[in-house]
């Protein structure tokens, strides 16, 4: 170490105040997966329940949080996994689909474990909330039977609401039914979890398209929830579009037709335009309908494709080429029939201010022969059925203005959620919106403030069982992320309905659960007990803990044993210790192994489980959460 450090200390500018661990959001944020989950599912808790073989309890904790564990355990967008702390500690051997030079991080397979809870659970009917036979006298209309509306129904039925669900399609589920192919999400899984909610006594009207909000407002409902999704797929107006119309399909509409059995085959050669998950579903579906050559074309480089890494990999695994830097130019028509598409190849000339590639046309034209084209270039919201003269405020993009906190539109009592609120998202966000909208609807119907949101529940309890014994599995298991078994390629491509991912069996699950670090078991520091013996700092396997002179946060971060460069992760800072120094812990890669607490002679460190549950409209939907909070 050099004496330049002395000068640096002399330059000291400020101090970082001690961390306020009374604020529940501090420890909540340490639980990366739960924090990242839009519905804040208590992930480590359900993983421990799976480890104990308590699959039904694990399922119920999920069901209370995210309503569709069996569905989400298969097709969730899984924002929790890129957030998972384990992924910052372990990198695997597998390259990334978008950038093969980068190895993929190996977070815990949170999503697959959710499916394990669903696959292995027992009969849970007696664990569901009771639905009052005596209703509360309030009538609610839900428009659209996608996950957003269904979540609202789930949350409000136990409170005695009289709920009517209007759906245009003949069956419930929304895009989960019509667009997510059954080889990813089998119908029986969807039926079970959607049916569970409708069986609470929701009045359903299928084939009932709502054509006028004005008329709906006149029906005397106490509140209306719009969960109609973002139903319009974008089109491309290129030369030849009209002439070749018979063989050009909007991706999401085409997937719907396939789901309902209206379309059972497709041409021999198919081009799919687009780089998102819809394109991946389109190309894989086309292959199963008998296409011999399916090609995906994307305008931008592979690196910035929107589709998830695993969805791209599944398409590549099925032998589908993905051609990037291909900008569609025209449809080639011969004798009134589509015979191909031309593309102009793009070249990257740099990056823009946001780091996205800047593309320029190269002048090189490529023709791909094809019999059908599927367009999967995005969706937009369309509300032709909302009259413009009924007092609804529309924003600059022509969309209804919806309050981000209350989910209410400018018409009191009319709420939005899911893709209908702010454009296409995913199922778990639709559910999160549903929970919040249900809270607002309940408050609205009872004349309470919509702005004062109910507070989350949280507890912090020591996990110490003996001198070196903890109530959780604190050992670090170095094992790699477990791979999920797949059906054979041959069988899969022959059967549109055959589920490709087989899920973990109980043995694979038993290995994967041990990879979870139990980030909810917090390292809690009591500064007046510390004698500054350094034992915790010396034992910590990942050099999280520091005893150091206080400084402003930026300098403090750089002065740690290993500089804390990941700013999205907090520093846990103590008050002054006896020598005047402070304890500063970088939460970033803490293994939650408890060794700091084991090596501390005074109990200044303790491992305490932080249980956290978001509030919901009906406490009856939180009975497993309440048990978890009080355990």
């Amino acid at each position: 170490m050099q004496a330049s450090e002395i000068a640096a200390r002399a330059r000291k500018r400020g101090r970082t105040p001690p961390t306020d661990i009374e604020n529940p959001q501090y420890f909540h944020k340490v639980v990366d997966c739960q924090w990242a989950c839009p519905t804040h599912t208590p992930v480590p808790e359900y993983i421990r329940l799976i480890a104990q073989g308590r699959y039904s309890a694990a399922y119920m904790l999920n069901w209370e949080s995210n309503v569709f564990p069996g569905i989400l355990g298969r097709v969730c967008d899984r924002p929790c996994e890129p957030a998972c702390r384990r992924g910052r500690i372990q990198v695997g051997d597998e390259g990334n689909a978008k950038d093969p030079s980068k190895k993929n991080a190996e977070p815990v397979a949170i999503c697959r474990l959710k499916r394990v809870a669903a696959d292995y659970k027992g009969d849970i009917d007696n664990l569901l909330p009771a639905i009052p036979t005596e209703k509360n006298g309030k009538r609610i209309a839900l428009i659209g039977a996608g996950p957003a509306s269904l979540a609202v129904a789930r949350d409000l039925m136990p409170l005695g609401y009289d709920i009517t669900l209007f759906e245009r399609d003949p069956v419930p589920g929304g895009l989960m039914r019509t667009n997510i192919p059954s080889f990813r999400l089998p119908a029986n899984v969807l039926d079970e979890e959607v049916g569970r909610i409708l069986d609470f006594g929701v009045k359903t009207l299928f084939g009932a398209e709502i054509k006028s909000l004005k008329a709906m407002l006149g029906e005397g409902y106490d509140a209306i929830f719009v969960g109609t999704g973002a139903p319009k797929g974008k089109d491309l107006e290129l030369p030849g579009r009209k002439e070749a119309a018979a063989n050009i399909h909007i991706g999401i509409d085409w997937l719907t037709s396939v789901a309902f059995g209206h379309v059972e085959k497709i041409g021999r050669r198919v081009v799919v335009i687009g780089g998102g998950n819809t394109a991946m579903d389109c190309c894989r579906t086309a292959l199963r309908l008998g296409a011999e050559a399916v090609t995906v074309t994307v305008r931008s480089p592979r690196k910035v494709m929107k589709a998830s890494d695993w969805e791209i990999k599944d398409a590549l695994h099925e032998g589908i080429p993905i051609l990037d830097n291909h900008a569609p130019k025209s449809f080639v028509v011969k004798d009134g029939k589509l015979v191909g598409m031309t593309f102009e190849k793009m070249v990257q000339t740099g990056v823009d201010a946001k780091g996205r590639p800047k593309l320029e046309a190269s002048g090189e034209i490529v023709t791909i022969d094809c019999d059908d084209v599927l367009m999967a270039i995005g969706q937009e919201n369309a509300f032709p059925w909302i009259e413009r003269d009924i007092g609804m405020t529309f924003n600059e993009w022509g969309q209804p203005a919806v309050d981000r906190k209350t989910f209410m539109s400018s018409i009191p009592g009319v709420f939005f959620g899911g893709d209908a609120a702010w454009g296409p998202e995913n199922i778990i966000w639709a559910v999160a919106h549903g929970h919040q909208a249900a809270i607002s609807i309940d408050a609205y119907c009872h004349g309470r403030s919509l702005v004062d949101r109910p507070k989350p529940g949280h507890t912090l309890v020591s996990q110490k069982m003996g001198i070196h014994e903890w109530s959780y599995s604190n050992n670090y298991d170095p094992r790699n992320r477990q791979a999920v078994p797949h059906a054979t390629l041959e069988a899969s491509l022959k059967n549109l309905k055959l589920e490709v991912e087989l899920g973990f069996d109980d043995k694979i699950a038993a290995r994967e659960v041990e990879r979870c670090l139990n980030c909810d078991v917090q390292t809690v520091f009591t500064d007046n007990l510390c004698i500054e013996c350094d034992a915790c700092m010396d034992i910590c396997p990942v050099d999280c803990i520091n005893f150091i002179e206080n400084d402003d946060e930026a300098d403090l971060r750089m002065a740690l044993r290993v500089p804390a460069l990941n700013k999205s992760q907090d520093l846990y800072v103590s008050g002054p210790l006896k020598t005047g120094r402070i304890m500063a812990k970088d939460e970033d890669v803490c293994l939650h192994c408890g060794l700091c607490a084991e090596r501390c002679p005074t109990g200044a460190w303790d491992m305490q489980k932080f249980a956290y549950a978001e509030a919901q409209a009906a406490s009856a939907c939180l009975s497993h959460h309440n048990a978890y909070l009080s355990a």
């Binding site: 500690i89 010396d538 020598t579 090596r599």
Partner: protein, 352 residues
């Protein structure tokens, strides 16, 4: 003692040294000492020192006697040579090893019991012979391993945990070492790594007998409020002889501002330097008498002088004194190692 081993996972951004190793690669097995034991902290400083000096583990031999302190070598450098010897016999085992192989770095770890009681004679002769080694005493003022009896370094005014008085004056190992001719003598505190780390680095670089007495609280038997070897007491009565120490490796450039009046630097045999800042108010570490005077006057006041106490930059080690071969024994061909009966006869004849 923990049930789990220290996880193999380490911080993904953990720095690597010139050998491409992280400090985790210098660890040993997990400590079985009491939680909070000062010895573990010294272990951590040794790990850090060897890591920062880019030392290859196979060039180091760690030798110890018996005691909690003497167990400590198990907890660092698991890939080095090691010998956990008999109580108080670390110096003679090290002497033998060093005579046989002068190319290794010898790190001797001992306790105050191991050194100042049963091993006192061994200690004196290792110093006197100027054995090229780093001799670290983890000094907790008691026999930790045998449940905390007073050791010979426990201060007279420092009673046992149960209040039993100590009738004897303490042996001051640093004073003894200086008197017996040690070339590098330092004292430090397990709770002050900022001071301890450069001292260990300099001691390892020093060619000759380098001694560090590290006050190391025994959390279980000698960390009570009346003990003079407790965390609290040492923190309150620690008189550092320098504001700051810097160990600067030969390859590194000295970048610090260097004030002649208040700073000095000690050149070590391998070209590295120990920079001492603000020594002006203290004693000159090249002056053995001044060093002993400083230790004694402060001890009379109940203060513990820490830092580099004495250094002799021109010491010659045992190999120099004896004029031994430049090569370790394992590098000598058999014909030289065992020159035969003729040569023996020649030697015998010379001594007749």
């Amino acid at each position: 003692m923990s049930y789990i081993a220290k996880p193999s996972a380490h911080h993904p951004a953990l720095p690597r040294n010139a050998l491409g190793l992280t400090r985790r690669d210098y660890e040993g097995s997990m400590s079985t000492l009491c939680a909070g034991c000062g010895h573990d902290s010294i272990t951590a400083a040794i790990i850090e020192a060897c890591f920062e000096m880019d030392l290859p583990a196979h060039r180091i031999a760690k030798v110890s006697g018996i005691g909690c302190s003497s167990k400590a070598p198990t907890y660092f450098l698991s890939r080095s040579h090691g010998f956990n010897s008999v109580h108080g016999r670390m110096p003679s085992v090290t002497t033998g090893a060093n005579m046989a192989n002068r190319d290794l770095y010898y790190i001797g770890v001992s306790g105050d019991g191991d050194t100042a009681s049963i091993g006192l004679g061994q200690f004196c002769h290792a110093v006197r012979r100027k054995l090229n080694m780093t001799y670290i005493v983890m000094n907790n003022g008691c026999y930790g391993l045998t449940k905390g009896q007073f050791s010979a370094t426990n201060d007279k005014n420092s009673p046992s945990k149960k209040g039993e008085a100590n009738p004897f004056d303490a042996i001051d190992l640093c004073q003894m070492a200086i008197q017996l001719g040690a070339g590098f003598v330092a004292r430090s505190f397990s709770g002050d790594k900022r001071q301890l780390l450069p001292l260990i680095q300099a001691a390892i670089s020093y060619k000759g007998f380098a001694f560090i007495d590290v006050v190391s609280p025994c959390v279980t038997f000698n960390n009570h409020p009346a003990s003079t070897k407790s965390y609290e007491y040492v923190r309150m009565h620690n008189m550092a002889s320098e504001n700051k120490l810097d160990y600067v490796e030969p390859k590194e450039e000295i970048t610090a501002e260097y004030d002649e009046g208040t700073s000095t630097s000690v050149e070590l045999h391998d070209g590295s330097q120990l920079m001492l800042y603000k020594i002006g108010e203290g004693h000159d570490p090249r002056d053995a008498d001044a060093a002993i005077h400083t230790i004694r006057t402060n001890a009379a006041k109940g203060t513990i002088v820490t830092g580099l106490l004495y250094v002799n930059e021109d010491q010659h080690d045992l190999h120099d004194v004896l004029g031994t071969d430049e090569r370790p024994l394992n590098g000598l061909p058999m014909s030289e190692l065992c020159p035969g009966s003729k040569a023996l006869e020649g030697i015998n004849a010379r001594l007749r």
